[in-house]
């Protein structure tokens, strides 16, 4: 029995189950050249492997679009040309010829400066593994073939692995590599599977079939546990599940405090999938739609039509309220297709609304898309990083310009669309009373607000203990903004980390906050705090 601890949690929860070692077999190609008369036989071996892989992918492609792209690459004649060339010309065996050809293509894609194309290298390598397994006649581990509950232990997991996960059988995931923002972490979180990543040495500490206990929230793993430890974790799991059930039973209760104030509980989302994941929590809407992901996960500035399609779907899903924050890039967020000038202080630099107002055509594409989506739900526009009345008025003028265009084009939108702003700069706090006359709502972004008010870089580990939204300076700023908003009769919400912090609920209610917007995982916990508040 050994206790292993990990600092960061990828997806919380508790699991007790046998280990399923998810490890690739040895796929190193055999070396050694072939005799000239064996060339045809080697090519035959490659073609048979290719045919087997194409069949495999055809089945997978029926239910998943990713594999349709893999299928095309596997069937590409350039791949076949490359392999045949190495067999015929260099007298290499089929395994070596395939391995080298795949490596060559992967290297071409890896060398490209486009993030999307770089990722295609992973697709090519994935196909390479399939081909190699077929050539060597070995089986790769298959999560689709599971028949009993397990904790999967792997080096890392890729989209082609996670697509086969059945959450009723995969009770937990432990990976040797990867970070909390890696693919497997995101997928595990969305499926609610307890997961710890970057667990150094875990592969050598467990054996296939051996029981393992894990508490992902605490970051604790017990390998080869004794009876007492198994009992302890089974009890923990039962307690955790009944706690989850209890919290879920509260979902149907609207968030009203004991003194009768209705509080709006909303989700922070980055895409439509996030909204779908948050809907079961009975949310009152989306308090923050981070539109920057549409820009960051793209190969070009998204067009009006591309954005409209996404916002429309989001507006229909989050029918009560969808607050779309206009593009918030710069700072620590970059675009693969746009070269930002290097800045001394990116967080004090060209970012968010400053970029939008400078690149008016791009800003208009986004505003027109948001406006058109407003015909399909209750959509609100929110500007980030405002520091002056001129900025707010300029941005609002662009909205009016877009409205006039749409009217002239006969395109539908919500004439009374609310236009609000983030409060995340000290300047916006100081001027909150003025802004409240021009903005239809406020949303306090505590992540940036805290770092700007305290002059503490939130990414700097050395001063991490000074980054504290419970600091009196930040709390006073929040109180001031809420009072200023209420004086003009507008709603004040919060969409920073603080809104999802159970310990902050009481004080934020005391300060009069109307709307709490947070990542979906925190909503159940915050709802309970609100319901219990005297």
């Amino acid at each position: 029995m050994e206790r292993v601890t990990v600092e960061k949690t990828a997806s919380r929860g508790i699991a007790v189950a046998p280990v399923y070692l998810y490890l690739e077999p040895d796929l190193t190609p055999e070396t050694g050249s072939i005799a000239a008369q064996d060339r045809e036989a080697e090519i035959g071996r490659f073609l048979a492997a290719k045919e087997a892989v194409v069949k495999e992918l055809e089945t997978l492609a029926e239910t998943n679009e990713i594999f349709a792209a893999h299928l095309e690459i596997a069937g590409d004649f350039m791949l076949q040309d490359g392999v045949e060339g190495k067999i015929n010309g260099d007298l290499k065996n089929a395994q070596q010829a395939t391995g080298e050809t795949i490596d060559e293509f992967a290297a071409i894609f890896e060398a490209m400066d486009d993030a999307y194309m770089k990722e295609r290298a992973a697709d090519i390598k994935d196909i390479g593994k399939r081909l190699m397994a077929a050539l060597k006649g070995v089986k790769r581990p298959d999560l689709g073939g599971l028949t009993r509950p397990v904790v999967v232990v792997a080096r890392d997991m890729y989209p082609s692995d996670t697509v086969k996960i059945d959450p009723s059988l995969v009770k937990g995931i432990l990976t040797e590599e990867g970070g909390v923002t890696s693919h497997v972490s995101i997928i595990a979180k969305s499926m609610g599977i307890p997961t710890l990543v970057g667990v150094k040495g875990i592969l050598s500490k467990v054996e296939d079939g051996q029981t393992v206990c894990m508490d992902a929230a605490e970051g604790v793993i017990i390998t080869d546990p004794d009876e007492a430890a198994v009992k302890e974790y089974e009890d923990k799991l039962a307690a955790y599940e009944s706690e989850r059930a209890r919290l879920e039973s509260l979902r149907s209760t609207p968030a009203v405090t004991k003194d009768g104030k209705r509080i709006y509980l909303c989700a922070n989302v980055g895409n439509v999938q996030d909204i779908q994941n948050a809907l079961p929590m009975n949310i009152d809407g989306v308090g923050l739609f981070r539109s920057e992901f549409l820009y960051m996960q793209n190969t070009h500035f998204p067009t009006e039509e591309e954005q409209f399609a996404v916002y429309k779907e989001a507006a229909q899903l989050a029918s009560q309220e969808l607050t779309i924050r206009t593009l918030d890039i710069g700072g620590d967020k970059e675009l693969s297709y746009y070269e930002f000038e290097k800045e001394e202080n990116p967080f004090l630099g060209w970012r968010a609304i400053r970029i939008s107002l400078d690149m008016k055509d791009m800003f208009k594409d986004q505003l027109r898309a948001i406006l058109r989506a407003s015909a399909f739900g209750h959509v609100r526009i929110m500007f980030p990083m405002i520091i002056s009345m001129e900025e707010l008025l300029d941005a609002k003028a662009v909205v009016e310009e877009c409205k006039a265009e749409l009217r002239a084009e006969g395109k539908a939108f919500d004439e009374k669309i609310e236009v609000g702003m983030m409060i995340e700069t000290p300047a916006s706090v100081m001027l909150a009373d003025e802004f409240a006359k021009e903005a239809d709502f406020f949303s306090i972004g505590t992540n940036d607000l805290t770092q700007y008010i305290l002059a503490v870089d939130r990414g700097n580990k050395k001063i991490a203990n000074k980054y504290d939204y419970f600091s009196p300076a930040v709390l006073r700023a929040i109180g001031h903004v809420i009072a200023a908003g209420h004086k003009e009769g507008i709603k004040v919400g919060m969409c920073g980390e603080m809104a999802g912090d159970q310990k902050a609920v009481e004080i934020l209610l005391d300060l009069g906050l109307d709307e709490f917007s947070m990542s979906a995982g925190s909503i159940d916990y915050v709802r309970e705090q609100i319901l219990n508040r005297d």
Binding site: E72, F77, M78, L79, F105, M117, I124, T299, H300, T303
Partner: protein
């Protein structure tokens, strides 16, 4: 051999999905189909080659068709690029 200049207009260039669409069109031609971009000559029947060429929107390319049914093939490929490759 026949050839014609055409400008790539779809927003993401010859990339991922558009590359795949172009590859299908080229694949349906009996003759050889190439795109010439600057000093590069790219096999249009290979999605790997098309993607690896990373042809961005606004780029002028020369479509070259050589072999059986080249006239018809050229028309088809140029039309596909002009119509935005399904994007």
């Amino acid at each position: 051999m026949v050839s014609q200049k055409v400008t790539v207009t779809n927003p993401s260039g010859i990339h991922a999905r558009p590359a795949s669409n172009l590859c299908k069109v080229a694949g349906s031609c009996r003759c050889d189909v190439f795109l010439v971009v600057g000093d590069k000559k790219v096999q249009a029947k290979s999605v790997l080659n098309l993607m690896a060429a990373a042809i961005k929107t606004g780029t002028e390319v020369v479509v070259e068709c050589d072999g059986e049914g080249e006239e018809e093939a050229l028309k088809k490929v140029v039309e596909a690029i002009e119509s935005g490759l399904g994007e």
